[in-house]
Amino acid sequence: MNDPAVNPEDVFQSQLPVGTSLIVIFVPSRDRDGQPIDQEYWVDEVLTTLGRLFRGATAYPRGRGVWRDDERGGTLLQEEPVIVFSYVAEADLTTNALSELYRTLSRMGRQANQGEIGVVIDGKYYGITEYVEG
């Protein structure tokens, strides 16, 4: 093993385009009362929206979790969120695209009875608690 070290990104030509942003959305499995929601439906909705706006997205199911809702008397709730992520070209990350993404997330927040919808864009967490009708 005396071969010189190689950079896998050079070999596979896999470097991301310059200016690519990473959007990550957490799709919950339960509502704030602990009732299961139709998670598969919402994962599909988020994937479809991200695919349409940004050309592609991937869903990554995670292990089981638990959380405590202090606003509901500290009840422990089991949570199994799915992470959906998309690499977005800089030119595609527009206010119009994000406004459209917001409409889907707002619908999820309202219909799935969520306290807050979380979106991470380039290392910053955006907490959405305002859900519009529609």
């Binding site: 009840t75 979380g118 290392g123």
Partner: protein
């Protein structure tokens, strides 16, 4: 490139919190990101399993916790409850105590 404020407005986000994990790679990176998010919003990440036990506090202590929570909420621009303050104080205090094995050495 959109600014943080432009993104916040487009998403109607009520708060923006910088995370320690800026650019996660692969499943482990996403798990790391999820852990960071769970500290910001416990409803969205697994975090460590927690237990719930009722404890009794006197009124004066509770009022101080509420004042601390109010101050913390103003500082961090995030909603903070007196319960969360109590949890943070107890966990930080207990974490700083030496382990039982350490004390015997």
């Amino acid at each position: 490139m959109l600014s943080e404020e432009q993104i916040r407005q487009a998403l109607h986000a009520s708060r923006v919190v910088p995370l320690a994990v800026a650019r996660p790679h692969g499943p482990l990176g996403l798990e790391q990101l999820a852990a960071a998010v769970s500290r910001v919003n416990p409803a969205l990440g697994s975090g460590a399993p927690r237990v719930r036990r009722p404890i009794a506090l006197d009124h004066e202590t509770w009022e101080k916790l509420e004042q601390l929570a109010e101050t913390a909420a103003q500082t961090t621009s995030q909603p903070v409850t007196a319960s969360q303050m109590a949890v943070a104080i107890i966990e930080q205090y207990v974490a700083a105590l030496p382990q039982r094995g350490d004390a015997q050495e």
